[in-house]
C-alpha cells in the first residue's frame, strides 16, 4: 500500500511536466491545427529564464577584504552580488534564494513575447501547409533554439536550486499513519504538482469562463464557422499561442530545481509529450492532462524493482508501449472526439 502510494507520488511531478507541455501542444494543435515540434524548446527556454534570472540576481562586483586572506596569504577577494549590496545581505540573500519562484514573473512576459513572435513570424505561414511541413519547420526551429541556448549557456546542466526552505522533504507517510521514512516526498515536488494544478486550473477556467476562451473553444470545434461569424479568430490564435508558450515556459521554470536544466531537455521532453498528447487524444485538453498524469504515474510504477523483476526494461518503454497500443486500438485517444485526426 505504502509502496503504491509512493509510486503515485513519484509519478506526479513528471506527470505534471508532461501534462503542462501536452496541454500547450494540444492548445496549439486544437486551435491552430499546427503540429509544433518546437514546443519542447519552449519548455527549455522557460527553464533558462530561471537560469538567466539567477545569473542576473547573482551578478556581483568584487571587493578586497583585507581582514581575511586566501590560502596563498593574499588578501581575500569577495564577490558581492549587487542585489545584496542594494537590499542588504538579508533581503538580497533572500531574493537570490527565491530566484526560481521569482523567475515566474520574469518568464511570463518573456515567454508570451517569444510565443507571439513565433506565431507571427513563422507558424502563421504554415497553417495551410501540410502537417509534414509544420513538423519539419518547427523541428528546425527547435534545433536553432537549443543551439542558441547552448551557445550562451554551454552544454552542461546548470544547477538551479529551489529556495532554501523548500529543499527538505516531507515525510508523507507519517501524515497518513505509516511508519516514518517510508514515504518521503521532497517539498519542491509537492510545490511543482500544486503549481501545475494551479496553471491547469487557470487555463481551463480561462477557456470556460471568458468570452475569449469561448471563442477559442468554438474555434477548436469548428474553425470555419467561427471565421464566418466575423470574429477575428487569427488574432485570438496568436494570443493562444502566447499562452501555450507561457504554460510550457512556466513548466520549465519550476522544473529547474528537480532537474538541472541543459540545452537538450526540451527535445527529451518533446517526444514524450507528443506521446502524451496522442494518448490523451489529439485536440482534447482534458485528455492531455489526464494522459500526462497517467503516464507519469505509470512510468513510476514501471520503475519499481518488483515490476522490473518480472518485465525487465519495462520502465524504459512503458510510455511508448501504451502509446502504440492506444494508437492502434483507439486512435482518437482516451478523450479525443470521434473523427478528429483518426486516420
Amino acid at each position: 500500500m505504502d509502496a503504491i502510494l509512493l509510486q503515485i507520488l513519484n509519478g506526479l511531478d513528471k506527470g505534471s511536466a508532461y501534462a503542462l507541455i501536452a496541454l500547450g501542444l494540444t492548445l496549439i494543435f486544437g486551435t491552430l491545427g499546427v503540429v509544433n515540434f518546437a514546443h519542447g524548446a519552449l519548455f527549455m527556454l522557460g527553464a533558462f529564464c530561471a537560469v538567466t534570472l539567477q545569473r542576473i540576481l547573482t551578478f556581483s562586483f568584487e571587493t578586497v577584504d583585507d581582514s581575511r586572506t586566501d590560502f596563498l596569504g593574499n588578501p581575500l577577494k569577495v564577490e558581492t552580488p549587487y542585489v545584496e549590496a542594494w537590499f542588504g545581505p538579508q533581503t538580497g540573500g533572500a531574493i537570490i534564494d527565491w530566484s526560481v519562484p521569482l523567475a515566474i514573473l520574469f518568464a511570463i512576459p518573456v515567454m508570451i513575447s517569444i510565443g507571439f513572435a513565433m506565431e507571427r513570424g513563422l507558424i502563421r505561414h504554415f497553417y495551410k501547409r501540410p502537417h509534414a511541413d509544420q513538423i519539419l519547420v518547427t523541428f528546425g526551429l527547435a534545433i536553432v533554439l537549443q543551439e542558441i541556448v547552448k551557445y550562451f549557456f554551454g552544454a552542461n546542466p546548470i544547477p538551479t536550486p529551489a529556495p532554501e526552505s523548500f529543499r527538505g522533504a516531507l515525510d508523507f507517510g507519517i501524515l497518513l499513519g505509516f511508519d516514518p521514512n517510508v514515504i518521503i516526498y521532497p517539498y519542491w515536488r509537492l510545490v511543482y504538482f500544486l503549481f501545475a494544478m494551479t496553471i491547469i486550473g487557470g487555463v481551463f477556467a480561462f477557456l470556460r469562463y471568458t468570452t475569449f476562451g469561448m471563442v477559442v473553444r468554438a474555434g477548436m470545434a469548428d474553425r470555419e464557422t467561427v471565421g464566418l461569424l466575423g470574429i477575428d479568430i487569427d488574432r485570438r490564435f496568436t494570443v493562444m499561442f502566447g499562452i501555450a508558450a507561457a504554460v510550457a515556459g512556466l513548466a520549465g521554470v519550476m522544473y529547474t530545481p528537480i532537474n538541472a536544466p541543459n540545452y537538450h531537455m526540451g527535445m527529451d521532453f518533446l517526444v514524450l509529450s507528443f506521446v502524451v498528447v496522442v494518448v490523451g487524444g489529439m485536440g482534447s485538453l482534458p485528455g492531455a492532462v489526464l494522459a500526462g498524469f497517467l503516464l507519469g504515474i505509470l512510468e513510476s510504477f514501471a520503475s519499481m524493482n518488483e515490476v522490473k523483476a518480472i518485465l525487465p526494461g519495462i520502465d524504459q518503454i512503458i510510455i511508448y508501449l501504451v502509446a502504440i497500443i492506444i494508437l492502434l486500438t483507439r486512435p482518437r485517444g482516451l478523450m479525443g472526439r470521434r473523427g478528429v485526426m483518426e486516420e
Binding site: L141, V275, Q316, I317, A323, I324, L328
Partner: protein
C-alpha cells in the same frame, strides 16, 4: 544500358564518375596552401559521404515517393550496425556476412514496425515511428545490454569466438583479405590524393544502391508510390491496396538504412545505441529535405552537403576567421568575427537548423530546386526556352511515356 533510357544512363554514368573520382575532386587545394584544411578527400569523411548517401537514398524511397514521414529510421541504422558487429564477433572480420545480416535483420525489423505504424498515416505515423525508435534506443541501453553492450557500445574483444578467423588472419575489417583501412596515398605535384579501400567499397555499394533506387523510381511500383502520396482515396477506388505498397517502401528503405549501419560498422567495428536516437533520425530527414525530397539526386546531395559542411564548419575557429577578415580594419574585423563566431566551429548545428528552416520555408524542393532554377535561368539566357529538365524531380516528371 542496364534497362535505362539514354538520359538516365548518362545521369547514372555521371554519378558513377563523380563517386569514383571523389578522392581527387574533394582535394582541390595543394597540401601547402592555407586552404588545405578545406580539403575533404580523406577516407573517413568520404566514407561518411557514401554511407549517409545510402541512408538518405533509402529514406527518400519512403518519404520522397509516398510522403510518409518516418522519424524512426535511425533504429534500422542501429540494428544494421549491431548485426554487423555481431558477425565480426562470431565469424571473422570479413564484412560480407555482416552486411548481409544487417540488411536482413533491419528488413525484418522494418517489416514489424512498418506493419504496425502504417495502420496510421500523417502525423500519427510519424509519432508511431518515433515511439518505436525511442523504444529501441531505450531498450538498447537497458535490457538488451547483453546484445548491445549498453553504453560502452558493441565491439570485438580478443576472447570473442570468431570461428572463421584463421590463424594469423586479418584483425581489421576487410573484404576477402582486402583491409578496409588500406590506402594508397598518391602525391601529385603539391597535391596529395588518398585512395582508400573502405571508401571504394562503400562507393561501389552506394552506386548499386543509387542504381536500384533509380530503377524503383522509374518502375510501375515507383509510380504507385507517388500515387499513394498524391491521392490514397483514388488508389483504393482504383482497386489498389495501398497498405502493401507503403509497407514495401518502408521495408526497402529500412533495409537501405540497415545497409548503411552495416557499412558504418564495417569501416569502424563499433556499434552504439546513440546511432538510434531520434535526433539521428532527424538528421536523415534533414539531409533528404535539404537536398530535395522525392528527387533522385537530392538525398545524395543533401547527405554530402551536410557531412561536408559539418566537417568544414567545425574546423573554422576564431583564428581562421581572423585570418579571413584580416584585410579589414581591426574594429570591423573583430565585429565580423564576433558575428560569424556562433555559426561556425561548435555552432554548426545552429547553421544547419537555420539552413533547414530556410529550405522548408522558401525552397521546398531543396538544393535540386536551386539547381533547376539556376539551369532554367541559364538556358533561358542561352535562348532555348524552358529546356529545364524535370526528369529527376518526379513531382514534375512527364517522362514515363517516352
Amino acid at each position: 544500358m542496364a534497362g535505362l533510357d539514354a538520359r538516365d544512363t548518362r545521369f547514372l554514368l555521371i554519378v558513377v564518375a563523380l563517386t569514383l573520382f571523389t578522392p581527387i575532386l574533394l582535394q582541390p587545394f595543394p597540401e601547402s596552401s592555407s586552404l588545405a584544411q578545406f580539403n575533404a578527400g580523406y577516407p573517413d569523411l568520404m566514407q561518411r559521404f557514401a554511407i549517409f548517401g545510402i541512408f538518405a537514398i533509402g529514406f527518400n524511397i519512403l518519404f520522397g515517393l509516398t510522403g510518409y514521414l518516418s522519424f524512426g529510421h535511425a533504429a534500422f541504422l542501429g540494428v544494421g550496425s549491431y548485426a554487423t558487429v555481431w558477425m565480426f564477433k562470431l565469424l571473422s572480420y570479413n564484412v560480407l556476412p555482416g552486411l548481409i545480416l544487417a540488411v536482413i535483420t533491419s528488413g525484418l525489423f522494418a517489416l514489424l514496425i512498418g506493419y504496425i505504424s502504417l495502420r496510421r498515416s500523417g502525423i500519427y505515423f510519424s509519432i508511431l515511428t518515433l515511439a518505436f525508435a525511442q523504444m529501441s534506443f531505450n531498450l538498447a541501453y537497458s535490457v538488451l545490454t547483453p546484445i548491445t553492450n549498453g553504453e560502452t557500445g558493441l565491439q570485438v574483444y580478443t576472447d570473442d569466438p570468431q570461428y572463421l578467423l584463421a590463424e594469423g588472419g586479418l584483425t581489421t575489417t576487410h573484404i576477402f583479405g582486402l583491409a578496409m583501412n588500406k590506402s594508397l596515398v598518391a602525391p601529385v605535384g603539391g597535391w596529395e590524393f588518398t585512395f582508400n579501400v573502405g571508401y571504394y567499397f562503400c562507393a561501389v555499394i552506394a552506386i548499386a544502391a543509387f542504381y536500384l533506387s533509380l530503377r524503383i523510381f522509374r518502375s510501375p511500383f515507383g509510380m504507385m508510390l507517388r500515387a499513394v502520396k498524391s491521392n490514397q482515396q483514388r488508389m483504393s477506388y482504383t482497386g489498389l491496396n495501398t497498405r502493401p505498397y507503403t509497407l514495401a517502401a518502408f521495408v526497402i528503405s529500412g533495409m537501405y538504412a540497415g545497409l548503411a549501419g552495416g557499412l558504418m560498422a564495417s569501416m569502424d567495428p563499433l556499434a552504439g545505441a546513440e546511432r538510434m536516437q531520434w535526433t539521428a533520425s532527424g538528421e536523415v530527414v534533414l539531409m533528404t529535405i535539404l537536398g530535395g525530397a522525392g528527387t533522385l539526386m537530392g538525398p545524395v546531395l543533401g547527405a554530402g552537403f551536410i557531412k561536408y559542411f559539418e566537417n568544414i564548419f567545425s574546423k573554422i575557429n576564431d583564428n581562421v576567421l581572423h585570418g579571413w577578415f584580416a584585410f579589414l580594419p581591426d574594429g570591423l574585423e573583430d565585429l565580423l568575427v564576433t558575428i560569424v563566431h556562433p555559426f561556425v566551429g561548435k555552432g554548426w548545428h545552429l547553421t544547419l537548423g537555420l539552413l533547414f528552416m530556410l529550405v522548408v520555408i522558401f525552397l521546398p524542393g531543396g538544393l535540386v530546386e536551386v539547381g533547376q532554377r539556376l539551369r532554367r535561368l541559364f538556358t533561358r539566357r542561352g535562348g532555348t526556352p524552358d529546356a529545364a529538365d524535370p526528369r529527376h524531380a518526379p513531382k514534375s516528371a512527364p517522362h514515363v511515356a517516352e
